[in-house]
């Protein structure tokens, strides 16, 4: 009798279990990057919420930034706006528009890379980007909400989905400290904390991650020890050649005239002011450093002023593909990257 009761209990449990949703999809998808090296960060798709209706304030109204906090500058049609790291740390993507320029400012806290993507895709559709919750080499994988395709931020292309293989179209940016930003653009508007989400923007969410060279959260395909992992560098790419310019090079503010991918560029930076920018220099103009009256950062032989946005004599120098980031991320994505010495 008791064995019958035991059998009935087990049968009951089996039926109960089988009634549950065991559905799992194991559809294999094609990835341009090794899918075994793509990590699920944990929060899930859109678990880190992008900012899709950004709100801005004047500098005087911003009270959550300290002098050394970093900020990203984006400009278009004569307008410039600032996007503080302390907000980007929590949201990673801001979908915004200035004039006709629809862009997604993508930012990965783990690689320290901010890249400004064109939201208008090659088919003419304008999309928004969200945080997929997946990472490759510790780096953000945004997805476009138009086609649900997954893009690699530092790889600069679509790596999974309908748009696989399509290259990301970029807009220029600059990165600097809050202290310098206020000198550069005292009248610019800055993204404020009215994001629609309740977060502690005064607190950096990753502890000592910015400075601890041993803390790399997920596996890397290549760990390049030529520099310390968290050294901040400007990576510049032209014609598939990559070169890194460490911020420490600019302990003394300077102008570097260099060639990348067969093209002339000028790289200007200051460790104290906490910025490095690169522009194409097709005319091989010789610039000299001049930080006396920001946003002017250099003068040419004719004493014409070049500002930090690459504007000189009503001309706009072209910014090559370039962005700041932790050294380890460039070493992981582009093992052949050259370091300027």
């Amino acid at each position: 009798m008791k064995f019958n009761q035991l059998f009935n209990l087990i049968l009951l449990f089996t039926i109960f279990s089988c009634g549950e949703d065991n559905a799992q999809s194991f559809t294999n998808s094609d990835w341009l990057i090794p899918s075994s090296e793509v990590q699920d960060g944990g929060p899930g798709k859109d678990g880190i919420p992008s900012i899709d209706s950004p709100k801005f304030s004047s500098i005087d109204a911003i009270d959550f930034m300290s002098a050394d906090d970093l900020i990203i500058g984006v400009w278009a049609d004569g307008e410039i706006k600032g996007y503080p790291h302390p907000i980007l740390d929590w949201h990673e993507i801001v979908n915004d528009q200035m004039g006709n320029q629809a862009f997604a400012l993508t930012y990965c806290p783990l690689t320290g890379t901010a890249i400004n993507w064109n939201r208008k895709l090659s088919n003419g559709e304008t999309t928004t980007f969200g945080v997929s919750g997946k990472l490759y080499n510790n780096n953000l994988i945004p997805y476009d909400r138009e086609t649900d395709s997954y893009w690699s931020q530092i790889n600069l292309n679509c790596v999974n989905g309908d748009r696989v293989g399509e290259a990301a179209s970029l807009f220029p940016i600059i990165e600097t400290s809050w202290k310098t930003w206020k000198e550069l653009f005292p009248d610019a508007e800055v993204l404020n904390t009215n994001t629609g989400f309740n977060r502690n923007y005064l607190q950096y969410p990753y502890g000592d991650y910015k400075t601890n060279n041993d803390r790399i959260i997920f596996p890397l395909s290549n760990l390049d020890n030529r520099l310390a992992a968290k050294d901040r560098v400007l990576g510049v790419s032209i014609n598939d050649d990559w070169k890194a310019y460490p911020l420490s090079l600019f302990e003394t503010p300077k102008v570097i005239h260099d060639r990348v991918g067969g093209e002339e560029i000028v790289v200007i930076g200051s460790q104290e002011k906490n910025f490095i920018v690169a522009y194409k220099n097709d005319n091989t103009t010789q610039f000299s450093i001049d930080l006396e009256s920001l946003p002017i950062i250099a003068k040419d032989e004719m004493n014409n002023s070049l500002n930090i946005l690459g504007q000189i004599n009503n001309e706009q120098l072209e910014q090559p593909t370039s962005f700041m980031g932790y050294w380890f991320s460039f070493g992981a994505f582009y093992p052949d990257i050259e370091i300027y010495e």
């Binding site: 008791k2 009761q5 035991l6 209990l9 087990i10 009951l12 449990f13 109960f16 279990s17 549950e20 949703d21 065991n22 559905a23 799992q24 999809s25 194991f26 559809t27 294999n28 998808s29 990835w31 899918s35 075994s36 793509v38 990590q39 699920d40 960060g41 944990g42 929060p43 899930g44 798709k45 859109d46 678990g47 919420p49 969200g130 997946k134 909400r145 997954y150 999974n160 629609g196 989400f197 309740n198 977060r199 502690n200 607190q203 969410p205 990753y206 502890g207 991650y209 041993d214 803390r215 790399i216 959260i217 997920f218 596996p219 890397l220």
Partner: protein
């Protein structure tokens, strides 16, 4: 065989019937108040979750895991709603995520003699993660738990039990998403590791009155590192370790009789501490912390051999490392059959 814990032996059952009837009139009203109150509270909770990989060990072991009958089999269900976004000790709003963990468990307990007992728990785990744009569900067998318990001291109404056990990696640790990406460790049904469990409990029957019982239990789970999470063949794989967990649970229960069944409301508090998880050998940000939980439940013993237990956990305070989505409530049900 010494009858150690409360009402589970037949002899003690009928003895306590007499005692119970004595208190019947007094407790009848109390029972009628507590039971509906309990049901109202649990039913009105809004469903949501959090689970570490594998079975929710502590909650299974915390109460009533020691029985006097030679053989016990229990079927348990737990729903763990993880929908509270907490920044250290501040509850935040507007989180786009919901998480849930469900566990169906078969629990065997065999009492060898008045000193020794062994237990095994085999769970079936379902993890759920929902955001505004994606719903993911994983269902699979979880990690098998084996536990040996020893009673070094037992005296009439008091009993001390210590236990040692293991959590074995029978669960799945490489479930993939529909894009063929291995899901995060907390979404797997198993941790892929062999972990160790230590337990100490003290039970006091008939505290102050014949009907009041008290139990305190300390559980410790020592977790090990999964050096190849999700991909055992990859040399430079993801090294992940769930933080070690300590729980200290204190429960009081009041045994009464309603009609011919024993009805035992119970309540208590639980202190829970987990260390931070580890990624690549270093403490992971935004994991680990301290929780203070309020526990409430009720047991119904009927037809001599059947026991039904309903339980719930409500976090009443937490101090967590960084920002975490954490449990906002847990409910459970268990049906035990005593041979």
């Amino acid at each position: 065989m010494a009858k150690t814990v409360s009402f589970c032996s037949k002899v003690q059952f009928y003895t306590e019937i007499k005692i119970g009837i004595y208190y019947y009139v007094k407790m009848y009203t109390l029972g009628f108040i507590l039971l509906p109150l309990y049901l109202v509270i649990t039913i009105n909770l809004q469903a949501q979750t959090c689970c570490t990989a594998g079975a929710p060990i502590a909650s299974v072991l915390d109460v009533g895991s020691t029985v006097d009958q030679p053989l016990m089999i229990a079927l348990s269900y737990e729903y763990n709603s993880v929908n509270r976004l907490v920044d250290q000790n501040s509850i935040l709003e507007n989180d786009p995520r919901t998480r849930s963990g469900q566990a169906w468990m078969v629990h065997f307990n065999y009492t060898i003699n008045n000193k020794w007992a062994v237990s095994a728990i085999l769970p079936w785990i379902q993890q759920g993660r929902n955001t505004l744009s994606e719903q993911e569900t994983v269902s699979a067998f979880g990690d098998l738990i084996l536990l040996g318990q020893y009673t070094p001291w037992s005296k009439k109404e008091r009993k001390i039990t210590i236990g040692l056990g293991m959590k074995l990696p029978s669960g799945v640790q490489n479930t993939r998403s529909d894009r063929n990406i291995v899901l995060s460790p907390d979404m797997q049904s198993g941790s892929g590791t062999s972990d160790f469990i230590g337990r100490f409990s003290f039970h006091q029957s008939h505290l102050f009155t014949q009907n009041l019982h008290f139990q305190t239990a300390l559980n410790y789970r020592l977790n090990t590192t999964n050096a190849h999470f999700g991909d055992p063949d990859r040399i430079n794989g993801r090294r992940f370790k769930f933080g070690n967990e300590t729980t200290w649970t204190n429960m009081i229960s009041y045994q009464t009789v309603v009609h011919t069944s024993f009805v035992t409301p119970e309540m208590g508090v639980q202190f829970r501490y987990t260390q931070a998880n580890q990624e690549q050998g270093l403490a992971a940000n935004n994991s680990g912390g301290f929780w203070l939980n309020y526990l409430m439940g009720i047991q119904l013993l009927f037809k001599e051999n059947y026991l039904v237990r309903l339980s719930s956990t409500l976090p009443i305070w937490q101090d967590l490392e960084g920002l975490q989505i954490t449990t906002d409530y847990r409910i459970g049900a268990q049906l035990r059959y005593l041979f």
